[in-house]
């Protein structure tokens, strides 16, 4: 047996031997650790080199100041020789506003800018309800940037002052108590619709009032007849308001208290603004529907379960483009003959239904991740089904589902490019076709596609990194 041993002096740490650490060791371990690895490294370097040799000259010879494609080519031939190729970025300089705003009137650009900034404010209670410091970190640069951009867009002074005050107010509230921004989140859809399309404020107000009617009827009756029946009663009441009374209300209110801003037609909407409008509105409206579908799918009432499963499988079984064609061709058959919905609204409705089905699956995964003990604890405390859902189950399930929902949004945002096939001006094919229709830029293809692709890449990559960050944070929170 070995002798007893006691160490009297602890050894200090030493530096590792040179061959096993540092950059030489890293190269040996990572790049040439085996024959296969060495061959792969050589092939990879060769492939990268070929690509760079192809793309770099074209990018470096870019021309930013020119009036037309022909002029671009002349400048490149002058500077780099007759056979050189080069990018004609001048088209982006000339037409960048169409890619971003479509045909929206330039003097009214402050409206989409304010709505875009407010979107982040509206998201604060949802994403950072427990962390006021993060709210500050996001909102302060946002508000400063928005004010700068508003100045650059030539906003009229009164609008600028109101916007500045409003945003600073939201900042002040958000940094103290993020949940205080919840009214902004709830009113945001109505405010945005009014801001972007213009028109009388009473149109949007009556739509909002319909929801107030729903809520009021629900509150009055839920004690007596239960949640589901009260909600149904509320829905019927709201439907009556919207379909019958609202029209008269708008006209009479507008006559008495006119308050309207310049209206903008739907066919002026285009570019990334359109993509965001469709994407954000569908995702936000589809969330409650998705929650109901997920709960319905879990239910043990056969009718509810059947309807939910049927709807989800139907929507997930058909391509989005057929849903868009339904929006443009078929939806009018299903609506009463006098009712004529805007094309954007029809598209938003169908895209909402589409994303509701996908969100339902994500939320179902979130619900499955909850331990059964949560449901049992809620029951043991005497909470009824809807109370348990609202107070205990949904907050946890939704928190876990947020990365999945962000991923659905990324997919949806990319899919907004399909609306060009039903005649809307999406940033990819829609705006590029318009740019190419101009005789000055006829025949250009790489530059606008690369520009749009780059913006999509930045937006989607940013969002997917955020989703990954959230996932990691949730994993550690929920150990």
């Amino acid at each position: 047996m070995a002798d007893p041993f006691i160490r009297t002096q602890m050894l200090p740490p030493m530096a590792p031997p040179v061959r096993t650490s540092g950059s030489i060791a890293w190269i040996r371990a990572n790049l040439i650790s085996s024959w296969l690895n060495a061959i792969l490294t050589v092939l990879a370097i060769f492939a990268v080199y070929q690509f760079v040799m192809l793309a770099l000259p074209w990018l470096l010879h870019g021309v930013w100041y020119a009036g037309s494609l022909g002029e671009c080519r002349d400048i490149i031939a002058q500077n780099f020789g007759p056979d050189a190729g080069g990018a004609c970025w001048a088209v982006i300089r000339a037409r960048w506003h169409q890619f971003i705003f479509g045909f929206y009137p330039p003097e009214l650009w402050y409206r989409p800018i304010i709505c875009f900034a407010l979107m982040f404010v509206a998201l604060m209670p949802v994403l950072y309800s427990d962390d006021p410091r993060n709210v500050g970190r996001v909102l302060i640069p946002l508000v400063l940037l928005t004010l700068l951009v508003l100045v650059a867009a030539g906003t009229p002074a009164p609008v600028f002052v109101i916007a500045g005050l409003g945003l600073t107010g939201c900042l002040w509230v958000g940094m103290r108590r993020p949940l205080g921004l919840l009214p902004v989140t709830l009113l945001y859809p109505f405010f945005t619709v009014w801001m972007l399309w213009g028109g009388s404020v009473w149109g949007v107000a009556t739509a909002l009032f319909g929801f107030v009617v729903l809520w009021a009827v629900y509150r009055l009756t839920s004690q007596r007849i239960g949640v589901v029946l009260a909600t149904s009663a509320g829905v019927i009441a709201a439907a009556v308001w919207w379909l019958v009374i609202a029209g008269y209300a708008v006209d009479s209110l507008q006559a008495v208290l006119p308050f309207a801003i310049t209206s903008v037609d739907s066919d002026k909407f285009g570019g990334f603004m359109l993509a965001f409008v469709i994407g954000v509105s569908s995702i936000s409206i589809s969330l409650p529907i998705g929650i109901l579908l997920a709960l319905g799918r879990q239910s043990n009432m056969p009718l509810i379960h059947g309807i939910s499963v049927g709807f989800i499988e139907f929507v997930r079984g058909v391509p989005l483009i057929t849903m868009l064609f339904t929006a443009s061709l078929l939806l009018q058959y299903f609506l009463p003959p006098q009712v004529q919905f805007d094309l954007i609204l029809r598209v938003v409705i169908l895209v909402t239904l589409f994303s509701a089905a996908y969100n339902a699956e994500v939320i179902r995964g979130g619900l499955a991740a909850l331990p059964k003990g949560q449901y049992e604890a809620a029951d043991a405390l005497g909470l009824d089904y809807w109370q348990a859902q609202r107070l205990i189950i949904m907050p946890q399930a939704l928190k876990v589902s947020i990365p999945g929902i962000v991923n659905t949004f990324i997919g949806l945002f990319k899919d907004t490019t399909l609306v060009s096939f039903v005649g809307l001006m999406d940033p990819l094919r829609g705006v590029t076709a318009i740019v190419r229709a101009d005789i000055k830029w006829k025949g250009i293809y790489w530059e606008p596609y690369l520009f749009v692709g780059a913006i999509f890449f930045l937006a989607c990559y940013g969002m997917s990194r955020y989703a990954l960050y959230l996932e990691r944070k949730l994993k550690t929170d929920h150990r």
Binding site: N37, F314, G317, P319, L330, Q332, P336, K414, F456, C460
Partner: protein, 415 residues
């Protein structure tokens, strides 16, 4: 003194419909049913009213009338004298061709990229991440358009293949068998000079090859089973790779040679290539873009699957003395496949649905024929859309049930 009383007789009260757990669910379902029926009848009423206003009716008879339009790419024989129904079938086969090729190429490519992404070689794994991120963050429509533009505007013209003063501006690939021009991709066509006689409408030669391949697989299976039995008895596994190779390849090869298999090469005649098969750029762009895009998604699924298997599994296998190759095939892959295959089948479903994006390059798939030209020509929007969605729905339900079947057979058994 105890007094025994009867149990209270059950009394039915109307409020029990809402509060009693026995009746509550029925009440809710009945209410939902009524509301649902009201909604559906409102929709149906609207449809009938709108149709009446436009003077239309619901009639699927148009399917049997003459189509009157040409389809350049068709797998089954078709002329513009055929019915709309046959045009729809051509569209359907076009959809399925793109879907099948797309699934195969994207799987092979995706597995390679996913495995390379996990490689210890830093450059290779970073390059693969760049590939994956690029494809996943840019809309698929853009990729389809870009590939199409590369083929149709950057590819040389047919006349560039003619040598001028001994030098041709463009040359064919793969030993003068492929020619990519701006009109289409010309590839050799497989031809049989002595095919088996056709029985009715069945493509006998094609079926014969399929049957022989099936038989080869079956024989190969029994070879492997025999090898496993030998291993169980003696511990040594006999080498079978050459036997498998021979059994899988030789019989089909012999049959093809007997049927006079040869390739008809595209040849430059006059202003364009003649002979061989011409693949339209719409087809190549759609298939290639779909394959590359979904390869990126597959790569992520494969990577996630392999990473999901805890390191402890491979450590335990190494500690037992198993080599990395055996560890992968006996321990890691079986578990990884359980994690990989369900999302991968959803992937196939998405790929099949995304073949409808051929609209971006005017590829005439199911949506292009039934939901496009036929719809515009006959004006029968409702019927065409309903039929089209029904067909897509059937395809997806078939794929989903395959998924559910797979899931139920390989579930890990737990307490």
């Amino acid at each position: 003194m105890a007094i025994a009383t009867d149990a209270p007789k059950p009394v039915f009260r109307l409020s029990q419909l809402i509060y009693d757990t026995r009746y509550r669910s029925y009440t809710i379902q009945v209410v939902v049913l009524i509301l649902g029926l009201l909604f559906v009848s409102w929709l149906a009423n609207n449809v009938i009213e709108n149709l009446a206003r436009k003077g239309k009716d619901i009639d699927f008879g148009f399917l049997w009338s003459r189509a009157g339009y040409d389809l350049a790419q068709h797998l089954i024989p078709y002329t513009n004298d055929d019915t709309h129904f046959r045009a729809m079938l051509v569209g359907l086969t076009n959809t399925l061709v793109v879907a099948i090729f797309g699934c195969i190429i994207s799987t092979v490519l995706g597995v390679m990229i996913g495995v390379l992404r996990l490689s210890s070689n830093w450059i290779v794994s970073r390059l693969m991440s760049v590939y994956v991120e690029m494809f996943r963050n840019v809309p698929l429509v853009l990729w389809i358009i870009l590939v199409y533009v590369v083929f149709s505007e950057v590819a040389p013209q047919p006349k560039d293949f003619k040598p001028v003063d001994g030098v041709a501006k463009a040359s064919m690939m793969f030993w003068d068998s492929f020619a990519i021009t701006n009109r289409g991709t010309n590839i050799p066509a497989p031809m049989l000079s002595r095919p088996l006689p056709d029985i009715g409408w069945m493509p006998t030669s094609f079926l014969a090859v399929l049957i022989l391949l099936g038989a080869s697989f079956w024989v190969n299976n029994s070879i492997r089973r025999r090898a496993a039995a030998v291993q169980e008895a003696t511990g040594i596994r006999p080498t079978t790779w050459w036997k498998s190779l021979a059994v899988l390849v030789l019989p089909t090869l012999v049959l093809l040679v007997a049927m006079g298999f040869n390739l008809e090469y595209p040849v430059l005649k006059g202003f364009d290539f003649q002979g061989g098969i011409r693949l339209s750029h719409a087809f190549t762009a759609l298939t290639l873009a779909l394959s590359l895009y979904y390869a990126a998604v597959t790569a992520e699924i494969v990577r996630g699957g392999i990473q999901a298997i805890s390191r402890g599994q491979s450590e335990a296998a190494f500690a037992l003395g198993l080599r990395p190759g055996r560890t992968m095939s006996l321990v890691i892959l079986p578990q990884a496949l359980r994690v990989i295959i369900p999302p991968q089948i959803s992937n196939y479903l998405s790929l099949t649905k995304d073949t409808s994006l051929g609209i971006a390059v005017s590829y005439l798939d199911l949506r292009g024929t039934l939901g496009g030209i036929t719809l515009n020509q006959t004006g029968r929007e409702l019927e065409c859309m309903v039929l089209m969605m029904a067909i897509y729905l059937t395809i997806s339900l078939l794929i989903s049930s395959a998924l559910n079947f797979y899931n139920s057979t390989v579930k890990l058994k737990e307490r």
